[in-house]
């Protein structure tokens, strides 16, 4: 995900996660699966993401592994 996409209030649809298997599995467990929609709530590292009504904090480093559509 490019830095420009990480602006507060932006909504994205996850296309894929390019990270190690264990991180992908853990993110899957937290609800990040291809096709899911999420919103950036806070654009200060670590970022706050709203996903299906829950709030999750993710580092910028991790969000850079996200491919969105």
């Amino acid at each position: 995900m490019h830095k420009n996409c990480l602006r507060k209030g932006k909504k994205h649809r996850l296309a894929s996660i390019e990270a190690s298997d264990s991180i992908v599995r853990h993110l899957n467990g937290m609800g990040f699966v291809n096709g899911v929609e999420f919103e950036i709530i806070s654009d200060y590292n670590p970022y706050i993401i709203e996903l299906k009504g829950s709030r999750l904090a993710l580092s910028a480093e991790l969000l850079q592994c996200f491919r969105v559509s």
Binding site: S22, I23, V24, R25, N28, G29, G31, K52, L62
Partner: protein, 701 residues
Amino acid sequence: MKMIALAGNPNAGKTTVFNGLTGTRQHVGNYPGVTVEIKKGVIKKTDFALVDLPGIYSLTPYSEEERVARNMLWKENPDLIVNVVDSSNLERNLYLTLQLMEFGIPVVLNLNMQDLALAKGWKIDTKKLSQTMGLPVVETVGHKNKGFDELIKSVKVALGASQRVSQTAHFSDSVNRALDILEKKLSKENASGASRWLALKLLEGDPDIEQEIANAEIKQTARELVNDLEREHNKEIETLLAEQRYKYIEGVFLQCVSSKLSFKKPLSSKIDAIVLNKYAGIPIFLIMMYLVFQLTFTVGEPMMGWVESAFAWLGDLIASFWPEGSESLLKSLLVDGIIGGVGGVLVFLPNILLLFLAISILEDSGYMARAAFIMDRLMNKIGLHGKSFIPMLIGFGCSVPAIMATRTLDNRRDRLVTMLVVPLMSCGARLPIYTLIIPAFFPSKWHAPMLWLIYIIGILLAIISAKLMRVTIFKGETVPFMMELPPYHFPSLKGTLIHMWDRGKLYLQKAGTLILGLSILLWALSTFPMLSKERIEEYDAQRETIVQSELADSLQAIQLSALDNLQAEESVEYSAAGRLGKFIEPVIVPMGFDWRIGTSLVGAFAAKEVFVSTLGVVYSVGDADEESESLRSKLKKNYDPLIAFCIMLFSLISAPCMATIAVTKRESNSWKWAMFQLIGLTLLAYFITVAVYQIGRLAGL
């Protein structure tokens, strides 16, 4: 006895359900990692054992606590799983439910926090959910104690019909065909009934399961099947399986949940907008920390006085059973050894309880998870994870629970570094040392800044040590920060008090066992061997001479008191404790310490707070504690502010207590790291204290 496991995502309310089902009072927190250990109990009015597992997102572990939970399910094979689900977060929580169904052990689905789902405008059709997923479904509102009787009834029914069947119908035909092939091969070697689940884990590439399966042919088949599936679907296997699970869950959710659109911004969002604000976040966090210390020290001070008075009264009461001036050994053991030793430590209990009360409020409200979030940037700079901050904060109370809390960290390197630096966060047991020394050597306007300085030195050393370890022995990438921020809760009085008491109880237990035993041992070491009969007779003769002299009564009293102190000091010097102190004196002299401080430091290794009572014994002032004026005046007579500062510095940095070393060994699963912590911190303390003392002397301090 039937065994039931309680499993669920972090913050789903498992511990509340555990307390409701068993009637026990385990601590409930509102941040991931409250259940760092597996807790066991018995369900009310039954003989079913209930096991509370740490929160997990998946049955393929990512962190140590997830591994603990998964291994319990896998290795101990419970008869039933109660899956506690946060109803207001149903879709994400059902991901674990599906994995538990794949595991095969019968599952009862517990829709907890129904009130939050209703507040969100959701109505969950539990009957339909039960039919669709093929599971018994029971609603509860844990914090209001609602629905537990129905849950117990459902557990009883489910146990009667329990049969292990791994459910994988939500996967595509091609995945199920691959599972059939692997299951057939595995069932020839594995009689546990978990062959289909093991087959699924092999497809997922779970490293623990791959290690467990010895048969190379099976592993090769799994690899080939994975390649086929990835080619067919044009995506990685974990993504494929996760997508199929979520697709099924989405269907279930749409069928079973009807929602009214709510345009109201949740309260948690409003609070987060302030406390997690880019500019206000850190100042708010610092204010919170200041309030925690203010509560601990300011409110705790008068309470310390009450405890002190109570022990003084008890000591006088016990002493009154003997005639005045009696030299009875039993009296000395009870009054000076036991009441003096244990009392000197228990006087600190109010501060410990208040500190735990503050930490408990922060945890239960949900702020602690935000604190980890706020601190992540800073922690990252020193090569640690934001989550490392929580164990470090708990370390200000006690290093033992703090080291256990490192289980929430996802990576072993982060865990070990955090574990090793946690003792540098000045724990509550060191506070009696500071509160004894600071008022004795520094003017009152310097009391608070000196205490603050000691804490800051500990924090800075922890930061520097962590950074050094991360660039040397623990090289490697820091695990990226990912953490769920639970909704804010108003902490319940009951829950907060339970939490405070559970941790305070450990301190009391330590005082009643370890410190009691040590007090008796230290009393014996400082009493035996006793001065020779001839030497005692010489002192008695000198007393007789003073009494027979024509000096005024007041002068006689002064001389007699000075003689008593002289005899007491000679007795301690002659005793085993004194000899031990003398033995190590050459090593500690470069820090400005004498044999008396040396003897007390040996006692402090068992438990830091024992330093004060040992010093009291060594200086023969009876029931010494950190408020003891007689001990303070003796210290002031014998040492200067530089030595006093060095005592505090050495106590802060040197080896933590025995209990901390033991828990480091257990949590790191290695004596190597426990010994590294013990020797490393002691050497660090030694070199820093020698440097400070010698430079201070050169500077004319």
